[in-house]
């Protein structure tokens, strides 16, 4: 073979193509150094921490399921316990609004899935309304903080909207009479209180409006009107 030095060097470069088989290379590396750590989302975390993360993720998942559970579901009891826990920390003056909020949640559950767990959801709704009405009966609106009354009015109005939505889906909701009575009582007390005072023209107009709304059974509207003067 006649080759110039340059050609020879070129041929030598071609010998670089000699390489071992990939599977042998990998196998030998494993044999010598042991298994490489597997890819992990948290490469620096110890198994105990990974376990903690798994429990945390499970907890988050469970929270989601519990949060979306409705009366009659297996996990609703957990949601109810959570509500009861929350209720402990709610100030006495805001308990009515809180119970009304829970009642609203039940109506929203029904609006989402009207055919699902209908009876237990309505039963829970009634329990919330009953509780709210009891708390409402204790309130003296003439001396109460307008902010508290405002919250009650907001939740009550929302309750009426939700009730209409649910009824439009064919679900008949009753059991709100107790709440209506409690609201009526509050409005009546406020009307009496205003009638016993010396009123300016604006307040007289409000009082007249409140009476009219009360006669129509629109107690939350009457309360809302009252709040405009506060």
């Amino acid at each position: 073979m006649k080759l110039t030095e340059k050609e020879l060097i070129g041929k030598l470069y071609e010998l670089r193509q000699i390489t071992p088989q990939n599977n042998w290379v990998n196998f030998t590396k494993t044999q010598i150094l042991g298994e490489e750590p597997k890819f992990t989302l948290f490469p620096y975390l110890k198994p105990a921490f990974a376990g903690f993360i798994a429990v945390f993720v499970l907890f988050i998942g469970l929270y989601g399921v519990v949060k979306n559970s409705i009366p009659g579901d297996l996990l609703y009891s957990l949601r109810r316990i959570a509500h009861e826990g929350q209720a402990v920390f709610v100030p006495e003056s805001e308990k009515t609004a809180f119970q009304l909020k829970l009642a609203n949640d039940r109506l929203e559950d029904l609006a989402k899935a009207p055919a699902k767990n209908l009876a237990p959801t309505i039963s829970e709704f009634k329990a919330n309304i009953s509780e709210a009405a009891k708390n409402l009966a204790k309130i003296d609106a003439t001396t109460s903080d307008p902010v508290v009354i405002k919250k009650i009015v907001e939740e009550t109005k929302k309750l009426e909207e939700n009730k209409q939505k649910v009824e439009s889906l064919g679900v008949v909701i009753d059991g709100t009479e107790q709440l209506d009575n409690a609201l009526k009582q509050i409005v009546d007390n406020l009307v009496l209180d205003l009638e016993g005072r010396t009123l300016n023209e604006n307040t007289q107009t409000i009082l007249a409006g409140m009476k009219e709304l009360a006669n129509e059974g629109k107690y939350s509207d009457a309360l809302e009107l009252y709040l405009t003067n506060q």
Binding site: M1, L8, K11, I18, P20, W24, T28, K29, L33
Partner: protein, 171 residues
Amino acid sequence: MANHRKEFGKIYDQCINKIYRFIFLKVNSEEIAQDLCSETFLRGWESYKNNSKIDNPSAFLYRIARNLVTDYYREKGRTQFVSPETVAIADPSQEIEEKIAFNSDLDQIKAVLANLKEEYQNVIIWRYLDDLPIPEVAKMMDKTEEATRVTLHRALKALKNELNQGEVKEV
């Protein structure tokens, strides 16, 4: 320890092809090259995990590989002789053969290279196959740079002469 393993893993990845080729060109057998190459890295790892301060791991592995090849020929009482014909027979598996696609010129060069004296083989492999700079080759050969250049020149000349003669002689 885990850190040492990771570091040596990198060294392994960087050097495995070079060390394997270095051995394979001397023994002309895939199976023997694999055995000696595994042994090289195993010994390298044993040393490295006890002393990770090895200055030049690549040179260190080449030294182990050279010693193992020497031991291999000594123990077997073999002369390092390979003809172009036996190269084809003793060539690595078909998979490698296909991959490399040796032509007859390369077979001949490989065979002749394997029959050069060890110093010439090493300097050619390190300089032209592993692309090491002269200063590094000089360190590995424990020579001055000038002496290394001279050795390289002589090695190429010897290779060329052998090829030009068209036959492989026992070294």
